[in-house]
Symmetry: C2
């Protein structure tokens, strides 16, 4: 669900590090361990194998929306975990795509949780300039050597860099400074409908309760090298609204000739009218009864973080990259960024009814579908929002419109002083990478499973490196960076080594 | 555009003929000509060749919406005309699919105009139980031997029966009793965008001005054998409404991540809101400003014809065949039939925006399309209706929504006392086929090109025989009927022979 590129775009430039600090200078914790040179050599020696491992993974694409490679993807994830040194690895069956639960006991004092996704977004090969499932290495002028493929940045590239760090520890004959607990799912791109079920199994909960926090590997640097540290993400519910003659009891049960519109009601007009009740006249503000009841306003600290980030970004660059001329409701730049962090949304992802080919076809369709997502901010919850949507439709006379929720979850938040946040800051700072805190991603990830009850663990993304094109054609992850301020694959791997030492050492 | 099945369904049963009249008894005019036996024998002898000709035509499908077989379809139509005896045959180029203009001078006193379409509706072979372009002969229990294929009933089967009649005259060594002027188009199924241009060429107009009226061959019998004679049809405009960030100047120029909904306007919501202004709260009545200004109420005669037809039909049969439980706005049966004849419509044929595949995809689409048709009743016109729609959208704040009209035309009407109407009645009556007048088809055909200025000719459909599935899978035309009250292919052919004699003789 989350889009790495977007998160990166608005992570910026609070230059809290000494200007000119050498990129990937030896970290304090890493230096203390005395193993720096040996592990660096192992990262370099393992480069080709790690790249092949990533290519293999890209070839092995799981797409939950299409039920593509459901068991094969889970098996592949299990093999990757075993090869990286996890001692216990098990498949966790669900009613949908299975999860994977794995533990690596290094005999360390502290334990770190890991969240992986092994599924990827749908793709249309016709839109790609390179095959989406080959993981080709391509020279991208101004960027470097990149791996192109579905899942390259979202999330197999960063996850592979993390796994490569574990391989490097083993190759260097060094024990991990922390124990690891991995939970992986194959339904992230459809809203993680079974992820809570995976995590809430007693043995998984028990393992996670020992963790300092949870990290999802991610490409945390923007194209200029600056990094963002996000303290949370919006929740989401994703669903289809379906109007049909069959369920409505009005209009035709199937497509009929369009001339019958004079005699017969239309499920398509019914859907249009139902949709029209969901937003205000501005076409933006959700108009669902009670939708804003639980919306918590931004704190002064959150507003300050947004304002700082706005100062580091150029409005015109953002407009150009999105192809946007005006922000929503004509609000100014800073307010548009505050909205991005603070406002719940009602979005139509797609409309499908009747004839969708070239030209027209004179039919009166018996069924119409709107694919929607609603982003949720604290303290909204997925369950309450779904109930409010259903009640609203019923109250407005659209109780017959089916609401088929396919996935979603609550918002997630992590405190600024959590170890997994402070450890990131230390690693970025040591590497001379400017970083900024950002209060909340506008996109979503199922961090609530960790940050919410019963675990209440800190959970965040972390990683060096960059990429783009998540959910879009020509997705890529940078393997060798032509910008010295941006890490390539080995730099990202080494950063995870430093991060693991930092997590072991941090107060 | 028109749907033969629908038209047939509501043609009914005013039994104005002597009960027990033998089916296809010798017609008065035909009998007088003294050529009955000879031509009947020629029809029978030519059967196999005529069926092969129809199969060849079905294989040669032209689909204007897909720009499929544009020149090949016109060339085939020309060859069919030449082989049937037309002496002058020419292709009439247009900006779209070409028309065909042909004349057959028999040295007769009177001239009959013919309107043919050589294009067919789109199809999806996966939905068919027989290949849509083979013209297979299949036994259909309770119906007889039928030819299955796209265009079988709409309109290649009936048109082939007419051409077979011309072949039979030649084979029997008999001159045609009337001269013929043929105008054919290949864009009927997309709303005949260039047909007026074809007809209004001076040499075509000059030829048509000599005609008593115009006939389009059609399968005029219902499954029970009863026939309908329609005195007109609604007009139509067919168009796409397109909302896009690019044109609107708001929202994204292309699809972006759905989390941006908090910051960016949505062209899809813009389209939903524009659509919502087009109908009243009932989801049915057009709410476009001035839409009803020119709507002419039904006359007492028209209401009487509708009431007669309602008496001959079972409401429950109609509901079951359409999969409908209630008529529009809960009106009773008779009122629903009056609406079908008298009310203009605003119909959504299809909706297409963003992601349309399985499940969801978290995007905010940059573009959304509604495919629509609006049926028009006298005295509405296509041009005035299009202008009103555009003005309405502009007045409501949706002036940026593109209105791309793909086809359409004015309503058409023909007087009850026109020779082409009375000749039909005579031929049906002689054959012992119960027939009924119906004031207006709810579907559309471009008869206005003949019935409107400058020609003002009577124009109607005519033909024996039956079929079903126009615009739907498994379309068929009955070749050998198992119901003695329904004509097969040869019966339909012989009826055209009788009709041509009748047109020559009728007062």
């Amino acid at each position: 669900m989350r889009d790495q590129k977007l998160a990166t775009d608005r992570r910026t430039l609070l230059t809290r590090v000494a200007a000119g600090a050498a990129f990937l200078a030896p970290g304090a914790a890493l230096a203390q361990s005395g193993d720096l040179e040996r592990i660096r050599a192992a990262v370099a020696a393992g480069h080709d194998a790690a790249i092949e491992r990533l290519q293999d993974w890209i070839r092995n694409a799981t797409i939950a929306a299409e039920r593509r490679n459901v068991e094969g993807g889970a098996d592949h994830m299990m093999r990757l975990a075993r090869e990286a040194g996890f001692q216990k690895v098990e498949k966790v069956p669900t009613a949908g795509v299975p999860g994977v639960f794995a533990t690596l006991d290094a005999g360390a004092k502290r334990t770190l949780g890991l969240y992986f996704m092994y599924d990827v977004k749908q793709f249309d090969p016709a839109e790609w300039s390179n095959p989406p499932l080959e993981g080709r290495l391509v020279d991208k002028p101004g960027t470097g050597r990149v791996m192109v493929g579905r899942g390259a940045v979202n999330q197999k590239g960063p996850q592979s860099a993390f796994l490569a760090a574990l391989h490097a520890f083993r190759a260097a004959g060094r024990k991990l400074p922390v124990n690891l607990v991995l939970v992986a799912e194959g339904e992230e791109e459809i809203g993680s409908p079974h992820f809570a079920e995976i995590v809430r199994q007693q043995r998984v909960l028990a393992a996670l309760r020992k963790c300092e926090g949870v990290i999802m590997p991610s490409a945390g640097q923007g194209p200029n090298g600056n990094a963002g540290i996000s303290l949370g993400a919006k929740g989401v519910i994703e669903l289809e609204l379906v109007a049909s003659g069959q369920r409505w009891g009005r209009g035709p049960a199937r497509d009929v000739h369009s001339s019958l519109k004079a005699q017969v009601d239309s499920p398509v007009w019914h859907l249009v009218q139902a949709l029209n009740t969901l937003v205000e006249a501005d076409g933006n503000t959700p108009a669902i009864e009670g939708w804003f009841e639980r919306v918590r306003p931004l704190t002064a600290r959150e507003r300050a973080l947004v304002a700082e980030s706005a100062r580091g970004r150029r409005e015109e660059d953002s407009k150009r990259s999105l192809g946007v001329q005006r922000w929503i409701n004509d609000v100014p730049w800073l307010e548009s960024l505050e909205r991005l962090v603070s406002q719940p949304t009602a979005n139509i992802e797609g409309l499908v009814a009747g004839y969708t080919g070239p030209g027209g076809k004179t039919i009166l369709p018996g069924r119409a579908v709107a694919k929607m997502d609603f982003r949720l901010v604290p303290d909204m919850t997925a369950a309450d929002s779904l109930a409010k949507l259903k009640a609203h439709l019923a109250n407005k006379g659209f109780g017959d419109v089916e609401v088929n929720m396919t996935g979603g979850y609550d918002p997630t938040e992590t405190a600024e002083d959590a170890r997994v946040v402070r450890a990131q800051q230390a690693v970025f700072t040591r590497a001379g990478i400017p970083w900024a805190l950002f209060p909340r991603n506008a996109g979503s990830w199922p961090g609530y499973v960790f940050t919410g009850a019963p675990l209440r663990l800190p959970a965040a993304h972390f990683g060096f490196g960059t990429g783009a094109g998540a959910h879009a054609p020509d997705e890529y992850f940078v393997i060798e960076s032509s910008n010295p301020r941006v890490a390539g694959f080995d730099g990202a791997t080494t950063a995870y080594v430093d991060f693991l030492y930092e997590m072991a050492a941090i107060k």
